[in-house]
Amino acid sequence: MTQEVKLQNSASKPKKKRIASLDKRKARAGWFFVLPFVLGFVCIYVPMVWNSLTMSFQEITIIQGGGYSTEWVGWANYYDAFFKDTEFVQTLLTGLANMAFEIPAILVFSLFMAVLLNQKMMGRAAFRAIFFVPVIISTGIMETVQANDLVNKYLEETQNTGIDDGSGQQVTEGIVSLFEVERLFEMMQFGRGLAVYVVTMVNNIFNLVNRSGVQMLIFLSALQGISPAIYEACKIDGATTWETFWKITFPMISPMILVNAIYTVIDSFTTNSNIVMMYINDAYSKSGEEISSAMAWTYFFIIFLVVGIIAGICSAFVFYQRRD
């Protein structure tokens, strides 16, 4: 009897210990995997962020012969950025307004394109390949090259004057003219604002396609993740494609809409073609790195607020599928 009890004790104790240590080992393995990031974050990233943040409160004088000295000036750089620099606030507001217009367009467009590219059809692979060309190639240096491209502009202009019936208008017309769309929208009882918005967006389609590549990718993979069984059930119950989209597809990918909204905000305010970013880069070379970093941090905090607001609003509507 006693032997049995002892055996049980000795058998149960190490077993309990082993479970605990497995968990611990797994936790250790987890830390091992994220270690590169944590190390880099602590050793490289935090000092950089700290340096940049403190710099916005300092004045830097470069000592001749190498090195520099800093002096704490408090909020002076921010004061300069806001009240002495005449254009910063204006640029900031314009940039934010642009963003408010562009983000819904990018989201809607990328979702629409993702749904289109997700359907089975001839040449789907080819279309997908073409649509991701701008994401892969038209970045960085090509953005600069494209911005200064005279040939493209010239060809577009001459083409348009070729089509023009000689009414004397030298203005380059876009893909659609406002006048036609307005007439169309008038019949549908929408406001003029919407017409202007749609026309601007359609004429900016290259820009739009260019910037919605990653979002399209994320939406596509989210669409692939929806189980076909749900669609089948819907079809059997007699739902139309339209209904299926709004009742199934939309809720199922709503988490990715949130992700994409945040990604688009971040992406559109960090690209170099963003006017505020351009202004800040200009300020870097013109009025020194202190003021430019003060501007950059102000901008960052505003964007952080925007991201927070978007995340707050969206997450109220996001639908999470419960997994059992």
Binding site: P36, G40, C43, I44, I205, S221, Q224, N281, F300
Partner: protein, 350 residues
């Protein structure tokens, strides 16, 4: 048609074989029923609409490249000639000759290739590692690390422009190097100068802090979450440790996603101007991004001719084309993986 005709005729051919004959309605009626209905019309219209839309947008995407390519084969007189649109009248390879021979293309290509490959491989591996750690292991601080990853994505690197330069100009980890060199172990008073070397980008890639690595980590994490846990459990049961499981079980399964991330990392490093602008300020290290220039021989020959502005722009465009040419080849080979990577990644909620 009466009921009798609709009945299939069954004829017994042998013991265990029968033959069934149906009366089919004539071809004309069958075609009518198939094609002349509302459903088919709707389908056709939808297909046409979709095709037109897709082809239109593909055209918009490819148009700038088409104009650039056609202009790169033109000679100066074609830019003045208003009858020339997309097809050059005087076909010439002068621009290519000038750009490829006078601007040290080969040297820049080698440097950029080395840098991008190293950055791409390292970033892909490190982001997979971090994403795997975040996806499959429950430990205290998992969520905090994830939020920090998102934070690195949120703070634009443009904000850190000057700080980044200073960090790698006087590279030091919390003054440790300085202390060590004071003690006589190292020679790095005031930090090491890493500018004009590949080290800053390598270090940032190794720690998952380089351009858009937050996005890669996020994609990887979502991907690994979709893989069933049973895979690893069976590997653990067979006595494999976590790292080995990761390398020999998980990585081979996630090749499409890895290729997707590699493609992004490689191409974005290839065309990057921001980081190369910060970390390479001398002309010693030649990269493709500061390769764009007008060849001297072309400038000398055509500066006075009337189409020079356009011609110069076309030269710059050709430089751009030459820069992205290797990327296009890579993309053609890897785009299949990109599409597969999307299909299998299965990003879902939570």
């Amino acid at each position: 048609m009466n009921a009798e005709m609709n009945k299939p005729r069954v004829k017994r051919e042998s013991r265990n074989r029968i033959r069934v004959d149906f009366d089919r309605s004539p071809l004309k009626e069958r075609l009518k029923a198939k094609f002349l209905n509302w459903y088919f019309l709707q389908k056709i219209l939808l297909t046409i609409f979709r095709l037109v839309l897709l082809i239109g947008i593909s055209y918009v995407v490819l148009y700038p490249f088409i104009t650039k390519i056609s202009a790169s084969f033109m000679s100066v007189s074609d830019f003045v000639d208003t009858t020339v649109r997309l097809i050059p009248k005087h076909f010439s390879l002068e621009i290519y000759r000038g750009v490829l021979t006078e601007l040290n293309y080969a040297g820049s290509l080698m440097n950029t290739f080395f840098l991008s490959t190293a950055a791409g491989v390292i970033q892909t591996f490190i982001c997979a590692l971090i994403g795997y750690g975040l996806a499959k292991f429950k430990f205290k601080g998992n969520k905090v690390v994830f939020i920090l990853v998102i934070l690195t994505m949120v703070i634009p690197h443009g904000t850190l422009h000057f700080a980044m330069f200073m960090k790698f100009r006087f590279f030091d980890i919390y003054g440790v190097f300085n202390l060590l060199s004071k003690a006589g172990i190292m020679k790095a008073v005031g930090g090491i100068n890493l500018i004009n070397t590949f080290w800053p980008l390598m270090l940032m890639s190794l720690t998952g802090l380089a351009f858009k690595n937050g996005l890669y980590i996020f994609l990887m994490r979502q991907f690994f979450r979709g893989l069933p846990d049973e895979l690893e459990e069976s590997a653990y049961l067979d006595g494999s440790n976590t790292l080995r499981t990761f390398v020999s079980i998980i990585l081979p399964l996630s090749i499409p996603m890895l290729v997707t991330v590699f493609l992004f990392a490689f191409c974005w490093q290839w065309t990057d101007t921001f980081y190369s602008g910060i970390f390479f300020n001398s002309t010693k290290v030649k990269l493709l991004t500061n390769f764009i220039d007008t060849p001297k021989s072309l400038a000398r020959a055509y500066k006075a001719s009337p189409g020079w502005d356009m011609y110069n722009s076309s030269i710059i465009n050709t430089c751009g084309l030459v820069i992205i040419f290797p990327l296009v080849i890579l993309y053609v080979f890897l785009q299949n993986f990109l599409v597969q990577g999307i299909e299998r990644s299965g990003l879902t909620a939570s």
